[in-house]
Amino acid sequence: MAEDLRAVEGSRLADGVRAYLIIAWMWVRSTMAYRASFIMLTIGQFLGSGLDFAAIMLMFAHTPHLGGFSLGEVAFLYGTSGVALGLADLLIGNTDKLGQRVRDGSFDTLLVRPVPVFAQVAADRFALRRVGRISQTAVVLGWSFTVIEVDWTVGRVLMVPLMILSGTAIFGSLFVLGAAFQFWASDAAEVQNAFIYGGNTLTQFPPTVFAKDLVRGATFLVPLAFVNWMPALYILGRPDPLALPRLMDFASPVAAALSCAVAALAWRAGLRGYRSTGS
C-alpha cells in the first residue's frame, strides 16, 4: 500500500517535471523567434542588476569595511544571494502571476489539463532572459573568490554549492508561499515581492550592519539568514552576531527543506480552497 502510494507520488513528480520542461521549452522556442529582442532584454537584465553592485562599490569608495566585511566578502554575499534568487526566479518566478489568473478565471483552464497544475503555473511564460541576472551575480561571485582569503578545506568548498541550492530552495518556497496566498487574496503579489526582493537586498549585506532584531527575524521568522549568512559565516570564519551555536552554520539544507514543506502545504491548502469565480 505504502509502496503503491509512493509509486503514485513518484509518477506525479515525474509527470510534473516533464510537463514543466515541455511548457518551459515551448516558451524558450517562442522567445527565440525574436532573437534580437531576447538578446537585448538579457543584456538589459545583466546591466540592470549590475547597478546594484555598482552602488555597493561606491559605498566602499568611502570605507574599507562594511560591518567588518571587506568588499570581496560583501561581493561573496551579494553573489550567493543573487545567484540563488536568480535561479529561483528563473525556475518558478512566474508563480507570482497566479493571482491574476485566479481573478480573470483562466486558472480554471489549467485545472482541466492532465498534468499537475503547479508545473503549469511555474513554467508559464518561462523567461530565459533571467539568465541575465544570474550571470551578472555569478560574475561578481566568481570575482569574489579571487579576492577573499579563505582556507579552502573540502567542507568549505562543498558548502558553496550547498548554500546556493539551499538559497534557491528558500527563495523558491517564498515564491510558492506568496503564490498560495494569492488563492485567497488575489492581489497579494506586492507583499510577496516585498519579502523576496527585500530579502535579496538584506542578504547582499553582512548581518553585522543590521539591528539584531532584524537579523533574528530573518533567522527564525523568514529563514533568509540561511540563504547565505549562516553558511558564509562558516566559510569566511566569522563569529555569529547572534552568537548562535556553530551547528546553525550548517543548517541551511534543513531550513530549506522546512520552508519547502511549509510552502507545499500552503499551496495544497490554497488549491483545495480554490472556488473559481462567478462569471
Binding site: I23, M26, G105, S106, D108, R113, P114, S276
Partner: protein, 355 residues
C-alpha cells in the same frame, strides 16, 4: 478522428443516438434515469458559495448563494444534450463540478466512473472542455504551438494527432490561422481554435460552456455544424450550455433547463415549448411594403416597412407556414427566431401557478 479508438482502457462502443440508451434520458424528468449507470451521473448535486457583502463602513454580512441547488440527471454515452438557462442560473458552476474544478458541497457525481474533484487529473485525459469566455490556448503563442503543447501534455500519439488536427483544421477552417498568435484572433476564430484544442486527444465527452456567446452568425453556424459532426461521426458525448435556444434547436434532441440552480425541465425541445406554450418568430422580408400578412397559424405582431414579424407556436413546424407565405407574397428573405429562454421559463412558471 475515427470511432474505433477513444483513447481509453475501457472498451467503449459509443452508442449512436438511435440506440435506446441515448434516448432514454428524454423520456422522463430529473433523476428518473439516474439509477442505470449513465456516462455522466448527478444525484442531488449542490454547490453553495459563501459570499461576503459590505453592509456598512466596516460591517460585512455573510450569506450563502446556492448556485446549484440539488440537481440530478444522467447522460448516456453518445448523447448531445443542451443545458440552458438564464444568466446566473448555475450552468457554469455545474460544468465546473463536472470537470473537477469545483468540489460539490453535497450530492453525488460521477463521470466515466470517476469522481471528478478527487480524480481531476486522471479524468482530464478523457474529457474536453471549452469555455466560451476564456481560452485554453496560450495567449502569446501561435495556434500551431498551442496544439503542439497539447499533444505533448496529453501524450497524443503522433499519427492520431496529425489525423485529428487535419480533421479539425479542415472542418473548422483553421488553416490560415495556424501561425497567428491567439491574442490576434477574432472571437469566432479563437472559439474555433479552442474547440479544436479540446478534441485533439479524442475525449469521450466534450463540455462547452457558452460556445456561441458573442459569435457572429457565420462562426455560430460553423461551430454548430462541427459539433454535430463530432457527435454523429465520433460518438463523442456532448454537453453544451447556452442561453440561446437557437443552439439547442439546431443541435440537441434533449434539453435540460436550469433556473436558480434547479432543473426545471429535462426532455425534448418540443415538450419544452408545449410546456411553456411559447412562440417563435418568423421574420419575413418582402419585396415592398404590404399590409400585415394573414396566414393560418401565425399572426403578424410587427410591421416595419417591407419587414414583418409573425409569431407562431414554437411547437409547430415553420415549413408549411413558409410555403404558404412564399406562395402568396413576394418573399425576399426570411429567418426564424427562437423565443428568449427567459420568456420560456417565465411562461413555464405562469402555467404551473395557474394549475
Amino acid at each position: 478522428m475515427s470511432i474505433e479508438s477513444s483513447g481509453t482502457a475501457e472498451p467503449s462502443t459509443p452508442s449512436t443516438p438511435s440506440e435506446p440508451s441515448a434516448t432514454a434520458g428524454r423520456a422522463a424528468c430529473a433523476g428518473a434515469t439516474a439509477a442505470r449507470g449513465g456516462f455522466i451521473e448527478l444525484d442531488g448535486l449542490v454547490k453553495s458559495f459563501t459570499v461576503r457583502r459590505k453592509a456598512g463602513v466596516l460591517r460585512r454580512t455573510k450569506h450563502e448563494v446556492r448556485a446549484v441547488d440539488g440537481i440530478s440527471f444522467s447522460v448516456a454515452r453518445g448523447e448531445m444534450v443542451g443545458y440552458i438557462g438564464p444568466n446566473g442560473a448555475g450552468k457554469s458552476t455545474t460544468i465546473k463540478m463536472l470537470t473537477g474544478i469545483l468540489v460539490p458541497t453535497s450530492g453525488r457525481l460521477t463521470v466515466a466512473g470517476l469522481d471528478p474533484a478527487r480524480e481531476r487529473t486522471r479524468l482530464a485525459r478523457r474529457i474536453g472542455v471549452v469555455f466560451g469566455q476564456r481560452t485554453t490556448l496560450w495567449w502569446d503563442l501561435p495556434l500551431r504551438d498551442s496544439y503542439h503543447l497539447m499533444r505533448r501534455m496529453y501524450r497524443i500519439p503522433d499519427a492520431r494527432y496529425r489525423q485529428n488536427l487535419d480533421h479539425c483544421t479542415e472542418l473548422l477552417d483553421l488553416g490560415p490561422l495556424m501561425d497567428v498568435p491567439v491574442r490576434q484572433l477574432s472571437l469566432g476564430q479563437r472559439m474555433r481554435g479552442d474547440i479544436a484544442a479540446a478534441l485533439l486527444h479524442d475525449p469521450e465527452v466534450l463540455y462547452l460552456d457558452e460556445p456561441t456567446i458573442g459569435l457572429d452568425v457565420v462562426s455560430k453556424a460553423k461551430v454548430r455544424e462541427f459539433l454535430r459532426t463530432v457527435n454523429e461521426e465520433l460518438g463523442t458525448t456532448v454537453l453544451l450550455t447556452t442561453h440561446d435556444l437557437t443552439d439547442i434547436e439546431q443541435l440537441c434532441e434533449r434539453v435540460m433547463v436550469i433556473d436558480h440552480g434547479r432543473l426545471v425541465h429535462d426532455g425534448g425541445l418540443d415538450a419544452l415549448h408545449a410546456d411553456g406554450g411559447s412562440e417563435r418568430t418568423l421574420v419575413v422580408d418582402l419585396e415592398r411594403e404590404l399590409p400585415p400578412i394573414e396566414v393560418e397559424g401565425a399572426r403578424a405582431v410587427r410591421v416595419e416597412g417591407p419587414r414583418q414579424w409573425l409569431a407562431f407556436p414554437a411547437s409547430a413546424s415553420a415549413a408549411p407556414l413558409v410555403a404558404e407565405i412564399a406562395a402568396e407574397y413576394p418573399l425576399v428573405d426570411l429567418s426564424v427566431r427562437e423565443p428568449a429562454i427567459e420568456d420560456v421559463i417565465a411562461r413555464m412558471y405562469a402555467d404551473r401557478s395557474a394549475l
